[in-house]
């Protein structure tokens, strides 16, 4: 499997007394795309939010067990630092409505009070927008509000915003569920291209999408990790009956 960047050991996550992730043990490989699949409510979003320490901000949110980022204990790091190293893109595009496209991309620096020279900032914005194939579409309207863009463009803007921070891992929570097929294809293409420089973890409901973008796939069911392995193997020869049933559309 090569180098691992994120590993969980006996990871449990709770909302108050309600246990939503049970004994998750998985190792996410570096510079690959890993898909997380499973029926609604099985804990996919919660798992992502454990990785970037957002889970503990939810009311009653609590984590037990271990998560390792490279060789350090992620849960003992400063959550602010963790979130700068592990970016996240949400289900619904959420650009900052008060900011221009340019400001949205550089927001991770500006909001954190990180000083940059104008040249450096311009460069970061251009790079990030080029990585998300948005540059040609918006380079003449950089100072318009980000909310004027189409849904698909907004989502790519949100990806650019996360990439501008140069994260080691990019978490994507159903990034295309609010988009049409064309915008979806665009984003999938982009994800495949991004793998060279950043590790991707993507939650998706679409088996097709997992097949197209993910090298590895994890199947979660009722808070448990049922199966984890190379996407092709998992899709063609699932070891667990529940994985097979899910893939054949028996539930989900």
């Amino acid at each position: 499997m090569g180098d691992k960047i994120l590993t969980t050991e006996h990871l449990y996550a709770y909302y108050d007394q309600h246990c939503v992730l049970k004994d998750i043990n998985m190792a996410i490989p570096k510079f690959k795309a890993t898909a997380i699949m499973g029926p609604s409510g099985c804990g996919k979003t919660t798992l992502l939010r454990c990785f970037n320490r957002l889970h503990e901000l939810s009311p009653g949110g609590r984590i037990e067990g271990k998560i390792r980022l490279r060789n350090t204990d992620l849960l003992s790091l400063n959550p602010i630092q963790v979130r700068r190293r592990i970016g996240m893109v949400f289900q619904r595009p959420n650009p900052f409505p008060t900011m221009s496209i340019y400001e949205n991309v550089i927001a991770g620096y500006r909001l954190n009070g990180i000083k940059l020279s104008q040249n450096k900032a311009d460069e970061i914005v251009e790079q990030a927008l080029k990585k998300t194939a948005l540059w040609d579409e918006v380079k003449d309207v950089l100072y318009r509000r980000g909310t004027f863009l189409s849904g698909g463009q907004q989502q790519r803007l949100c990806i650019a915003r996360a990439l501008a921070m140069n994260p080691e891992v990019l978490l994507l929570d159903e990034p295309t569920s609010a988009l049409d097929p064309k915008a979806t294809a665009h984003i999938e293409e982009l994800i495949v291209g991004l793998k060279k420089s950043v590790t991707i973890v993507i939650v998706t409901h679409s088996i097709g999408q997992a097949g197209r973008v993910a090298d590895y796939t994890a199947f979660l069911y009722l808070g448990e990790l049922i199966e984890f392995g190379p996407t092709e193997r998992l899709f063609t020869a699932p070891k667990d009956k529940r994985t097979e049933e899910y893939l054949s559309g028996k539930f989900g």
Partner: protein, 281 residues
């Protein structure tokens, strides 16, 4: 069937007529007040009225320049006091929602909202006038600020509650600390709503007389010192209108007119501001 239809139509017309009648009826006093205010007020207003100090009894002419300046100073001071406190409390309520302090804060806000303004005047008298041994603009501003406070708290809380959680998450996920998220993302997103609350609060207090009677007290001179008694338009209206001199009655109308226009400007600004800076999510 036809019979029934006719009857329904008749009742419908009758009801429509009634609603129309009552709408007009409730507008009549309003129009009457406006008409009267303009008719009586316009006559009193001229350049001298707006830019000169009052003359002693018996001399004709003179103006309310000191009262206009006084009202502006009172508004500025009370806004400076109420805005930071009110926004702070509003943020707390929107963020914390439950808990003992939030409960007390809400209770306090509700009570303040229902407190008669003259009582706030008494409180400012006890807190400021008595210890400092002098009526002052500061005391008046304290009374007005207390009066404005619940409006700002409520409008801030309501505005911030409407901001989607996803916006906060977007900032947090970039590693932005909580306090910066509030200051740099949430507050700017709620700017228009909060500003509207402040402007409506100002419009509300600008015409208050009762809290000023034994705090700002009034003064025939132009005063820029917040520690001295100061004049205000509502006080001029009160004093002049209850005087026995017809010339002062005329000036009371003029001052009422100026005050109404000021309040109207704040109300309009609130409407325009809301539209201009409204943020769509």
């Amino acid at each position: 069937m036809i019979e029934n239809y006719r009857k329904r139509k008749l009742v419908n017309t009758l009801m429509k007529g009634l609603v129309f009648f009552f709408t007009i009826l409730s507008l009549v006093p309003l129009l009457f007040i406006l008409f009267y205010l303009i008719k009586q007020g316009i006559g009193a207003i001229n350049w001298e009225f707006l830019t000169h100090l009052p003359k002693p009894v018996g001399e004709s002419g003179g103006g309310v320049f000191n009262a206009i300046v006084g009202t502006i100073i009172l508004i500025v001071l009370s806004t400076l006091m109420a805005v930071p406190l009110g926004i702070g409390a509003g943020i707390y309520l929107a963020e914390v929602k439950a808990g003992k302090l939030a409960y007390l804060l809400r209770l306090g806000t509700d009570i303040l909202q229902g407190t008669p303004s003259i009582v706030l005047g008494v409180i400012a008298y006890l807190w400021v006038v008595k210890p400092m041994k002098s009526f002052s603009a500061l005391a008046g501003s304290v009374a007005l600020a207390i009066m404005m406070l619940p409006m700002i708290v409520c409008s801030t809380e309501e505005t911030l509650k409407l901001i989607p959680y996803s916006l906060k998450e977007a900032a947090l996920a970039l590693g932005v600390p909580y306090y910066r998220t509030i200051l740099k993302v949430i507050l700017p997103a709620g700017f228009s709503g909060i500003l509207t609350g402040i402007l409506l609060g100002i419009a509300r207090i600008a015409g208050e007389t009762a809290p000023l009677l034994f705090t700002a007290f009034g003064s025939p001179y132009l005063n820029l010192n917040p520690l001295k008694p100061i004049s205000a338009l509502p006080l001029v209206v009160f004093n002049y209108a209850s005087s026995p001199y017809p010339d002062w009655w005329r000036q009371a109308w003029g001052a009422s007119f100026v005050l109404t226009v000021m309040v109207l400007v704040f109300n309009l600004a609130a409407k325009i501001g809301t539209r201009k800076w409204e943020i769509k999510f």
